[in-house]
Symmetry: C2
Subunit: 255 residues, 2 copies
């Protein structure tokens, strides 16, 4: 049984202030929690339905605090509209930004991505393409926001996400890493000869890449629209979609 204080503690992790204070976050759902149990992140506490616990007992480490909860309590803890069997409280990993990158590395730089769904989907896509490092500006949405965690579909477990001063990182790695910035009027990415190690820079949903970051971009790239048709179309692509197309092209061109 969870005490009402424990319930409040878990609920408080919906807010960044308390996530940072405790160094914890929550992740939920049968599949994600099972992935967590076998993964590299430290699970602090588990809350699950009795039948889920019986079924997966062999996977649950003995030393892990594991609370049986009923459907109603799970609903109170959950941020999901359809709470799904299990919920974990996880310790925020302390990743240290590498001082140098591999010759074949492809990384992402996110400059002020604000929509949690976009951030989650970008991390999931990065994971699909084997991109291990995602560097975010300090004003990018919080990876530990429950909406971001859910949208990553478990990819937060494998992808290293850092919050850092992007301009400083770009200045420090200038010349060693090639910085490709995504711009609406950038050079067609399909016609761009890409070289590694590379970083793809994705800008804010409505304002794009900030001027401070744009100064360090080596090559401006873009995704041509179908405006050869006679009808004018959308003004822009969603930032998550643009990031996905860029990653697919880079992976194709650098094998």
């Amino acid at each position: 049984m969870l005490s009402s204080n424990q319930i409040k503690h878990i609920q408080s992790l919906r807010m960044k202030k308390f996530r940072d204070q405790h160094g914890l976050f929550m992740a939920e759902g049968d599949k994600i929690v099972r992935e967590l149990l076998g993964g590299p992140l430290e699970v602090d506490m588990l809350c699950a339905l009795p039948e889920w616990i019986s079924r997966w007992r062999a996977q649950i480490p003995k030393e892990l605090t594991c609370h049986e909860v009923d459907q109603k309590t799970l609903g109170r803890l959950s941020t999901s509209q359809s709470p799904n069997q299990a919920l974990a409280v996880v310790r925020q990993p302390a990743y240290e930004l590498p001082s140098s990158f591999d010759k074949k590395d492809l990384i992402l730089l996110l400059d002020t991505i604000q929509d949690p769904g976009n951030l989650g989907s970008i991390i999931r896509t990065a994971d699909w393409f084997g991109i291990r490092h995602v560097l975010c500006s300090h004003n990018t949405a919080d990876i530990y926001n429950p909406k971001v965690i859910q949208a990553t579909m478990g990819s937060f477990i494998r992808t290293k996400v850092y919050y850092t001063d992007l301009a400083r990182v770009m200045r420090e790695h200038k010349g060693q890493m090639f910085f490709y910035g995504t711009f609406i009027d950038g050079k067609n990415v399909f016609d761009t000869a890409v070289r590694l190690p590379a970083a793809i820079v994705i800008g804010n949903e409505s304002r794009g890449i900030t001027e401070e970051i744009a100064r360090f971009v080596d090559q401006r790239i873009g995704i041509p629209s179908g405006s050869h048709t006679d009808i004018s179309g959308a003004e822009s692509l969603n930032a998550g979609i643009a990031a996905g197309i860029m990653m697919a092209c880079f992976r194709h061109m650098t094998g």
Copy 2:
């Protein structure tokens, strides 16, 4: 001033049942409403802040019912967390499915896309790439759901979205149009010679393309992951991202 019945009427449009009953839907936000005023869709009613109406009076047709509302009333009508100046009630267009397609046509077939955000973002991306026809299975999310409308960022105005029996359409156009189905283990789209007229088929977020539809697919295509790296990655891409990458590749190859 809006009567409480008018307010209830507009609020009822959040539900598909009432949208279908009235043949109407709502769209909101300064930019989208201004695009609507100059566009092909029939606006049934406009509700906006007094300052918005003064500013855009020249664009508002004289015969259009236009209600001044205060911020509080706009908040009651809106489904957005930050209601933005204006809201329109729009008549659902009655598009008739073309009996044949142009030689250079590229269209989309959506087989049970369920997430409103995904559907909206797919329509926005289609619009960017000049794709004019999006055919949805009957159990795909409703284009007139306010979340879908907002996610399209105005692209619902230009893109023709149909709800139809996809298997029947595919059977009827077999041989005249090439059907490319997106599968996790499909042939690398970057290595596929693409021919028009073509349809890209996108399947459900978790179950993919249904068997009934898969039978009519001419070529199974996919997006290779970065699994050449030593660490296993995400199991799949988000359906909106996968659709975006497919559209970008097809536009590039058939330019």
